[in-house]
Symmetry: C2
Subunit: 370 residues, 2 copies
């Protein structure tokens, strides 16, 4: 994997990340394809929207379809049919949030499948092995995601274990075809975060993620930790803020020097009828859209906005039609793709601050509080 910062505007960076399966400009947003598919949208559309890097998840892929089938298929790319870059989260977060966590030891994580209750074990080594064997472009290390709130002692303990696991992950590597990113933990404690960055930065990772945020902490805590960590991470490596987020969060983090993002918000919101527009979010269920024959966002040039009205999308949604999820997802992912493109253009022109201010002013005008 190669990463190059081409232009800086304040701390905001415009760059290019190249991997085995293509390249992406940064800052970028990764659509979430947990199970090897972005819910509601086919890969050809993902590509047409300009996305060349998507996220998947070791925890989910390990349970279904499982390593054996992925390997027999020749890896995750042949199996899923996605031809671009793939980053996999290790599943550390899912073990905490979704599965029945049984036990964390120094060895790794014992957990029960959320599907059938079967018992499983992830070690840092196994996660790297899994990621290499299925041939992802970027694999995340197994980490211990610190919840919020957590005591200083707890956060310190899990941060230190995350660092030890990161070291084991590095040692477990057998190829450089799969880049491995470390994850910075440390809760909301500045000194723990700094210590974590210091220790991880010495290890030969291709990139660094900021983990353990967007887990319930107040916004200003999230922004503070993001700024702090991003300012201390190596300049020449990509920085990835995991699980974030809303457009306003992405803008804050880009300003702090973050390069990569992922979040279920655009896709999950779409399926719930919440659509992003340049003037704020709207909920397409609202009765006021019954006779609204204008597009979701007049400034949007996605397939949905070019061809369908709010009234039609509302009709599909309230009728329970699967096409509501499809068209809404196309729009929201297009909105995010466009936001990232505009961010990159602004950085290239040295006008990121201006762009951010203008975007937020308009976005918070809240045309639709529906």
């Amino acid at each position: 994997m190669e990463f190059q910062v081409i232009r800086k505007d304040g701390n905001a960076r415009y760059g290019i990340l190249r991997g085995t399966h293509g390249e992406t400009e940064t800052p970028c947003f990764m659509p979430v394809g947990t199970l090897g598919a972005v819910k509601g949208v086919t890969w050809d559309r993902i590509g047409q929207m300009g996305y060349s890097l998507v996220l998947s998840n070791v925890y989910h892929l390990y349970l279904r379809p499982g390593l054996e089938i992925l390997q027999e298929a020749g890896g995750i790319h042949p199996f899923t049919g996605w031809k671009g870059l793939i980053l996999t989260d290790s599943g550390g977060f899912q073990v905490f949030s979704l599965s029945k966590l049984m036990k964390i030891t120094e060895d790794g994580i014992y957990f029960k499948s959320h599907i059938d209750g079967s018992e499983h074990f992830f070690s840092p080594e196994f996660v790297v092995e899994f990621e290499e064997k299925i041939g992802v472009d970027i694999g995340m290390v197994l980490d211990e995601c610190t919840p919020y709130p957590a005591t200083y002692e707890y956060a310190k303990h899990s941060m230190e274990r995350t660092v030890r696991w990161a070291l084991r992950s590095i040692r477990a590597r057998t190829t450089d075809k799969t880049a491995i990113f470390a994850i910075v933990q440390g809760g909301v404690y500045n000194d723990l975060r700094l210590k974590c960055v210091e220790m991880l930065s010495e290890l030969p990772f291709e990139g660094f993620a900021i983990g353990g945020l967007s887990v319930g902490e107040p916004k200003d805590e999230m922004y503070r930790i993001t700024r702090l960590v991003a300012s201390q991470l190596p300049e020449d490596k990509p920085r990835y803020l995991m699980g974030v987020g809303k457009p306003e969060d992405i803008l804050e983090a880009v300003e702090a020097g973050v390069d990569m993002f992922d979040c279920v918000i655009p896709t999950r919101n779409a399926r719930n009828g919440t659509l992003f527009t340049s003037r704020g979010k709207i909920n397409i269920k609202a009765a006021k859209f019954k006779r609204d024959f204008s597009p979701v966002d007049p400034e949007c040039d996605c397939y949905t906005c070019k061809n369908f009205s709010r009234a039609y999308l509302r009709h599909l949604y309230v009728s329970g039609e699967i096409n509501a999820a499809i068209l809404n997802t196309i729009h929201n992912l297009h909105f995010y793709g466009r936001l990232m493109k505009d961010i990159r253009e602004a950085i290239k022109k040295g006008k990121f601050q201006e762009f951010k201010r203008n975007f937020l002013e308009k976005y918070s005008s809240q045309e639709g509080s529906g």
Copy 2:
């Protein structure tokens, strides 16, 4: 509307049907878009698959979004964003099968909405008015769909009423922009069917449908009635066999001289994991596809078969991913579109019998009884 039979091969016909919103070659299959959307597939793909005529439904559109909204939008085309031809079934069948039928009188049908139990009334005149107001290319008359089994007396009674309603429908017309098709009823009774054809043929309909089949009667009854009715319908008008059907049924009916078909089978089956292949149907859920990295149908050139394996589609299906419905629907509709195209080519070459024999031989080899 214009219809032209260009080539005959036995009783099978190749033709062209032209309407306000384009044209379609016949024999053709109409994807079902009950609520103004074909479940699981966006209009651009429907068009790319070669479909230029789709089916919708007055009963469903009347309940949601309702006439007022459809009119305010400027009709069904602007509302749904579909730019090709639209045929609407009157909803007579849905009133019997889906809603709580309250009463049929000579005036029309009193029924309760399947959504909220509210009470409604459809007259033959209202259905034509609705179809004209929303601007469909082809509207079906309101008919009384004879169930199976039905006594001779019952079938005679409902056939005669259907003819009287057809006459009222003709009288209610105010424009020729919306073509109106009559529906032949008469159950499985030859003389009733012939009488119905005789009476309807005298009226200035742009086309004729064979209704009341595929409602539970044995296959040979369906084929017998189809052959009988098709042989007596006017040569110069399109013939539409409603709600049919399976590939083998379509072939039989084309042989009898039928030009148009609709059925939920390809789309509904897709959502249930049943996929059509040149060697029979398969159910993608089956465990045997777990490691089957071949496409659904090696002879198919649809987006799904070109890019994804049975193993991946099975994975999506068993994981409950919405993309299973999307990719399966693309495949099944493509299969039906291809079947109709091959049928038309065969008729044009005078080789329909040969095509039918070859298709069925291969199709019944049942590679997949999964």
